[in-house]
Symmetry: C2
Subunit: 191 residues, 2 copies
């Protein structure tokens, strides 16, 4: 008997069911059976595609976060940073932030899941930071040779830390203070 | 019958037993019974002092991390930052970092534990940052009115993020890059 892998549209339905359940009950209480029921798929289909829960969750994380996007293009470095950080804050403050915080739990015991999360939430986003920096260099706002590594690392760490420790709201004041007090000084050092 | 609270030296023994078990088996698998056995205390003594596991863990976290310390005093702002960050990295890289990462799991479901962790690992340390900044102002390295808030927030976030995502080693290169590329530019903006 030839066993086919789940087709693309089934994959999408299943990944979305996984994400819904992660949001509703969290990683520990999510079962493969519940995913099958939510996606109206047979258990055989689920297990054929993903042998266990970590694999299934990794697929759902890739599906939802694995891509990149065009960064904002406001005409100034500061404008781009404010717009981008505002978007990141909205994501961290919403259901995605809650799911991700929950998954960190599982990831501390699972290096592979941790690596997938890091790739999806960090590495695939790096090209956006590169684009913002290139545009700022082209406009003469930053010197030739400026790189996005520190910007990306600091922005990511500050947002994640605030979310994880419930250290304060993701409001305009946070965005402004982070952009003007941290990100721009880090980028403009030596200017 | 008058029931006395555990005496101070019993408290220390019990808190240290809790921390050892957190390091060995993690929060989820640590039982009140195991703590009693490790501390050679009766279960009645444990339950008399702390009605449940979160309370007991919070006491242990307070015991081990609740205090502050004198910051390094090397004679320069950069020297102080390098010395302090090196110490923080050594802690994050060792057993305390592992225990703390494990406790974050429990803290995502327990706002009170989260608040205790934040107080012990962040708020009680703030005075060290104040002292470092005051000394730098007195030496004329920073302008009057300089404050430690951003320094503390950024340093804490960068170390925690690196630990949690296993993003790289806590080596001299990380310390140097963080101090020269992020912390000093943040502190010296407007200088």
């Amino acid at each position: 008997m030839v066993v086919a892998a789940p087709k693309a549209d089934r994959r999408v339905t299943i990944c979305e069911a996984v994400f819904e359940l992660l949001a509703e009950v969290g990683y520990d209480r999510m079962s493969m059976d519940a995913v099958a029921a939510r996606a109206r798929a047979s258990k055989a289909t689920i297990y054929r595609g993903w042998p266990n829960k970590p694999e299934l969750v990794m697929a759902a994380v890739e599906h939802r976060y694995g891509g990149s996007a065009e960064p904002p293009d406001t005409g100034s470095l500061r404008g781009d940073l404010v717009a981008h950080l505002s978007t990141v804050c909205a994501v961290a403050d919403g259901i995605d932030g809650a799911v991700f915080t929950g998954l960190l739990t599982a990831a501390t015991h699972n290096a592979e899941l941790s690596a997938v999360m890091r790739r999806c939430v960090y590495e695939t986003k790096h090209v956006m930071y590169e684009t913002m920096i290139k545009r700022a260099v082209a406009r003469g706002e930053l010197p030739e040779g400026s790189t996005p590594e520190l910007l990306h690392e600091v922005l990511h760490a500050l947002v994640m830390s605030r979310r994880l420790w419930r250290a304060g709201p993701f409001d305009e004041a946070f965005v402004k203070r982070t952009v003007d007090g941290v990100l721009l000084p880090v980028l403009r050092q030596g200017c």
